[in-house]
């Protein structure tokens, strides 16, 4: 995955995002419009919202540009190290379900070294997934949770991502 690797080594700034889009052969006004959001200062809410927007549209180059090469990722369903490992994890997840993350509260460290986001995650399974790490899912099942996610940031990228469950999972079966 050479292309993804080269795009992902770019910082999540406007210039980096555009260069990353070029490396992936992406073009067009929509990409540049999305990139403009990344003019925001590191750890500011607009900067973070651009990350979430990329994640929600499954824009792997866009969201993974926020990760350091050796990011430590402690999610609710997986603990992995490395940018590509995180992308691979979510790619696998999306084979089974649609995931949407909504920002409820955000606090960025003015020094740009940390951020805390309160996130509501909504999962809707489109296939049966009996081995889902946080509990089996059947196609059509919907699951919702609220998590506090702490981001350690260095040089404009996440070096560590840690998710702590705030609310119990709510959901309904199909």
């Amino acid at each position: 995955m050479t292309e993804k690797g080269s795009a992902a080594t770019l910082a999540p700034s406007r210039r980096g995002f555009i260069a990353g889009a070029a490396a992936l052969g992406l073009s067009g006004a929509s990409t540049l419009t999305k990139a403009a959001a990344n003019d925001a200062a590191v750890a500011s809410q607009p900067w973070f919202e651009a990350y979430l927007a990329a994640f929600n549209r499954a824009d792997e180059a866009g969201y993974s540009a926020y990760y350091a090469d050796d990011v430590q990722f402690f999610g609710q369903a997986a603990q992995v190290t490395g940018r590509q490992a995180v992308v691979d994890f979510y790619r696998g997840v999306r084979k089974h379900l649609n995931e949407r993350v909504d920002l409820l509260t955000y606090v960025g460290d003015p020094a740009g070294a940390h951020a805390l986001a309160v996130l509501r995650t909504t999962l809707v399974a489109h296939t049966d997934w009996p081995d889902m790490p946080t509990g089996p899912l059947k196609a059509g099942d919907r699951r919702e949770s609220v998590n506090f996610v702490m981001y350690d940031i260095k040089d404009g990228r996440f070096t560590r991502v840690r998710s702590a469950r705030f609310s119990p999972q709510k959901g309904r079966s199909a």
Partner: protein
């Protein structure tokens, strides 16, 4: 005093079990939700809850990190509870005298002026160290 300094003073009050000093950091109708989902509203509810916790355990909180954006404050906390007595009704689950719990949590404080109005915490890591396995 900066918000960060005020927060460290607040945690020092917790560790000293100085309830009068503690509640001076809260608005009268402060709303607190701790990592196990327990909700408390107001000074009396919080003090009553933590007095019981401190009768059952010795609790020390360390501040690993704290930052604020001017409206809210975030803290990463490490807490250690050591059971002083058998506590079958302890808030995080039954404890036997000598059992330990380590909790790494993220807490979010909303404040108005110098008073916390809304506090929520979520547990990132919880480690139970039973006395039977102590070295």
């Amino acid at each position: 005093m900066t918000q960060e300094e005020r927060f460290r003073s607040y945690i020092a009050s917790f560790n000293a079990q100085d309830w009068d000093a503690l509640v001076r950091h809260y608005s009268p109708d402060v709303h607190l939700v701790i990592g196990n989902g327990t909700q408390m509203i107001g000074h009396d509810a919080i003090v009553t809850f933590y007095k019981k916790v401190n009768q059952q355990t010795r609790r020390i909180i360390q501040v690993r990190n704290v930052f604020t954006d001017g409206k809210r404050l975030v803290a990463e906390l490490e807490s250690e509870f050591v059971a002083l007595i058998d506590a079958p009704d302890f808030t995080s689950g039954p404890l036997k005298k000598g059992d330990r719990i380590h909790i790494n949590s993220f807490a979010l404080y909303e404040y108005v002026g110098d008073l916390y109005t809304n506090i929520r915490a979520a547990v990132f890591r919880r480690e139970f160290l039973p006395v039977s396995e102590a070295s």
